[in-house]
Subunit: 286 residues, 2 copies
């Protein structure tokens, strides 16, 4: 595995490799790798000749009051994990390398952002779309891998690829969970011990919602209320949102039908967790 | 020369060509080709293995009151001219091909747009930056060619390439002029006969400004006043702006020094013309 810190070096390395027709799988991350990331890497490893992993805590996707400074980092551990997964190139640029000057142009997301996390994180998805545009141009991968846990991010990046005509295939991979159902996240380490015990209620409430839908419930308000009630009862977390939309369009629904996402965000003392379930009434669950 | 109308076909054609290591020169245009464009194509032809010319009147860079519907078009003439210049691929997509759905993500220009044409054309450079991002991803050229006449466009695209990390070299080519000094433009055909006779005063006033600077004038206000006076006297055009900035940063200057752009826009009955001169006091004129 080669660790590369400059854009120029990565571009020239990959240019040589691509000349021989090799395919490139790309896993962009903010580091502090967990099993969810490793699953993305395994998929990329299986489906491509080369695997590029990027670790970059992108400052422009954090709001002024968000957790940029406390976002967990452990490069040595990440490096070792990436090596174990047979990553070919670990791209680890500095903030100065990625943003050397005042920003002249950025990607602005016009749709799919006024709901869910986008509503409470203004500018967040512009920051995501901008860094992804940069990383796509630096790596020029064949396929790029993202976790379904960040469902709104997947919807936004789907838009970036389509609208900017990137010749890249987006691969969305199932959420990896702890044995008690908590979605794996780098932020989970910032949960206090008591909160860690409560946090599985997020997924538990989503599963209960799914069960209710399977039993015929079609009213989104009833489902949202039941989820809120369960989370309030079984945790000290503050519910940021519980919402139901069509997916991936993220439009409001009056009645559960077709493909919908039930998504939620809950704030604990030092960390805000998200989770979601996509339910397809036409077919089986995604 | 191959005429291609779909993104998919162009991408797969170019992918095959690039595998053999060929370089690609790209000339993006809105068609109605004039000598300025042909000069860009000649440069591209000289410096690359393949030349891609695109013709696409990009609706999202026109404001609601602008000349999208009257923008001149003549595909058969353009096709013949491109053939004469040995273009390899003429990319001629429909609006539906380029914008099949409601736009989810666009490029938003944060700098260099609140002056000159950007001021009177809100959203114009977002539209330019968006279509260029799309076209760059579709063509993935080695070098891209633009005319210095659209100096602010060159500054914005310089920002797109730098901030989005496109591995593309921007080549800015000198403005081509009629024998009387009028900068070549597709829009010149929309001048009324009397206006066509007056229009050379734009460049004449810029040359007079340059002469004044050469004789020691350093006050931008004096230069702007002299230009406005000359244009008002010798034409019926309405002066949209005459401005002087540092280049390419496009910041105001209190005194002429270093590298500056003198830029102007004048509205005639059916057409608004622009012109500029970049003057480098440290070296010779650019």
């Amino acid at each position: 595995m080669k660790i590369i810190t400059t854009i120029k070096e990565l571009q020239s390395e990959l240019a040589i490799q691509k000349k021989s027709g090799k395919t490139v799988g790309f896993v962009p991350t903010m580091g502090y790798l967990h099993e969810g990331h490793l699953t993305l890497i395994k998929h990329a490893r299986h489906e491509n000749d080369l695997v590029v992993l990027s670790i970059f805590v992108n400052p422009i996707q954090f709001g002024p009051k968000e957790d940029l400074s406390t976002y967990p980092r452990d490069f040595e551990r990440d490096r070792a994990l990436a090596e174990c997964e047979n990553v070919d190139y670990l791209f680890y640029p500095s903030v100065e390398e990625m943003y050397p000057n005042k920003i002249t142009v950025q990607a602005a997301v016009q749709q799919r952002t006024d709901v869910l996390c986008g509503k409470s994180r203004p500018g967040h998805f512009d920051g995501v779309a901008t860094v992804i545009t940069k990383l796509f141009n630096i790596v020029m991968p064949t396929k790029a891998y993202f976790g379904k846990k960040d469902a709104q991010q997947v919807a936004v990046i789907d838009g970036v690829i389509a609208d900017f005509n990137f010749p890249i295939e987006l691969v969305a991979v199932d959420t990896v969970r702890e044995s008690d159902g908590l979605a794996k996240s780098s932020r989970n380490v910032n949960l206090q011990p008591e909160e860690r015990k409560q946090a599985p209620v997020l997924f538990k409430s989503l599963k209960a919602a799914k069960a209710a839908i399977n039993q015929g419930e079609r009213n989104p308000d009833n489902i949202v209320s039941a989820i809120k009630e369960m989370i309030s009862k079984e945790s000290n977390g503050y519910i940021d949102y519980v919402e139901i939309y069509s997916y991936p369009e993220l439009q409001p629904v009056e009645r559960i039908s077709g493909r919908v996402i039930i998504a939620l965000a809950v704030k604990f003392t030092k960390v805000r967790l998200i989770d979601n379930l996509v339910i397809n009434l036409d077919l089986e669950e995604d």
